[in-house]
């Protein structure tokens, strides 16, 4: 009896080709998929109960971010506006607009609108809006050109590597205190240098990438 049957070569080839493709698939799954926007939801804009436009309200009407996100300076959470906040204006303006029907239902039934979260962090990440505001990190550093978004989309991946890119070198991301909420801020010749801002805000760069800064 022969050790190798007549189809031994076929099995050998199939095994070699098969393991090659299994390897390719593994690399794709482990290495390529996390790099895809599909995985990080970057540039994705989920459907919302009301198609709220930051472009219209912020850039068009000139509302300050804090008009709706009231707790962003004191709290870890920026705060979502209550239905009453929407109705402050929309009880008088666009009162019959079809796209605002969920607002009116919410007010009539006394049930909050449930928005779909665009920026979500896992529970093992500690994040606080207020400290970033207090240290001169503008809204658009993380939320992108939010003032020009007709529909809110995720501007960055929120991967740890992205967080660290700023925590390891925060200076270029800082701006003067009165420009933090300006969605169209640009550095000019009269802006204090990044290094001067770093000193002004008392930011200790050597501690910013400690594990316990974000994982506590």
């Amino acid at each position: 009896m022969a050790v190798f049957g007549p189809r031994a070569n076929l099995f050998m080839t199939a095994t070699l080709v098969g393991s090659f493709w299994v390897g390719v698939l593994l690399i794709a799954a482990i290495w390529v998929v996390p790099l895809m926007d599909y995985n990080s939801q970057q540039r994705f804009a989920p459907d919302q109960p009301v198609p709220f436009s930051h472009k219209h309200h912020v850039s068009g009407l000139g509302l300050d971010c804090r008009y709706c996100h009231t707790s962003v300076e004191q709290s870890s959470n920026a705060g979502m506006p209550s239905t009453a906040t929407c109705m402050t204006c929309h009880s008088q303006i666009w009162t019959n607009a079809a796209m605002l029907a969920p607002d009116r239902t919410s007010l009539a039934e006394d049930k909050p609108i449930r928005w779909t979260r665009v920026y979500g962090l896992p529970d093992y990440v500690y994040f606080d809006h207020s400290i970033h505001i207090a240290k001169g990190v503008g809204c658009t550093e993380c939320h992108g050109a939010i003032g020009d978004m007709a529909i809110t989309r995720k501007a960055h991946s929120l991967y740890m590597s992205w967080c660290l890119s700023c925590h390891r070198d925060p200076a270029p991301h800082l701006r003067p205190k009165d420009q933090v909420f300006n969605p169209h801020w640009r550095r000019t010749n009269s802006t204090p240098s990044p290094e001067a801002l770093l000193v002004q805000y008392h930011i200790k760069t050597e501690a910013l990438s400690d594990c316990g800064i974000c994982h506590r």
Binding site: L61, G62, L63, D64, R66, Y67, T70, S75, S76, N77, M80, S82, A84, T85, M87, T88, C89, S91, Q92, I93, K111, P112, R114, P122, D123, Y124
Partner: protein
């Protein structure tokens, strides 16, 4: 036998650890539904309660200082200027888009109105104006009242009211 049971223990503990979903821990984040919640909207504060740290009786008006006026200006520009405009004349952007015109702070009635009136209107709203109690803290309301008084004073001020060293910045 002993080797086998310890191996089993390692395998079991490793597989249990793999099931542990650290991304979704048993703790409540803002706006998150309580575990096993039967309702499908976030919990709101219990009626007739106040947040921890809030004073039972709101503070009275603080002494006027430059810091208070600057805080008042900042808060006024955020919450009031959309309708009342940065000048306080009631021609804000939202009014230009069809919101009913609020009275100007320069009217005789509002020039002679007590400070408490402005505080109360911010707290409870007035006419078509909604309450801002959830957006403007009591201390900030007094800061805004102080800034409204400054706006009223500035409208009828002349160059001689400005300190000599600052006049050049206006001319």
């Amino acid at each position: 036998m002993r080797w086998r049971s310890s191996t089993a223990l390692v395998i079991v503990s490793m597989s249990v650890a793999a099931c542990d979903n650290m991304a979704n821990q048993p703790k409540l984040n803002p706006y998150e539904l309580p575990f096993g919640s039967q309702i499908n909207w976030p919990v709101r504060p219990v009626p007739h309660t106040i947040a921890r740290g809030d004073p039972l009786n709101p503070p009275g008006p603080p002494p006027v200082s430059m810091a208070l006026l600057e805080r008042g200006q900042q808060r006024f520009d955020i919450y009031c200027s959309p309708c009342h405009s940065r000048l306080g004349d009631g021609n804000g952007m939202i009014v230009q888009r069809g919101f009913p015109h609020p009275p100007s702070y320069q009217s005789d009635a509002l020039r002679n109105a007590p400070n408490q009136l402005f505080y109360d209107v911010i707290t409870h709203g007035y006419g078509v104006m909604y309450s801002y109690a959830d957006r403007v803290s009591p201390a900030d309301r007094w800061a805004i009242v102080a800034y409204i008084r400054a706006l009223q004073a500035s409208a009828s001020a002349s160059l001689s009211d400005v300190p000599a060293e600052k006049r050049s910045s206006l001319q």
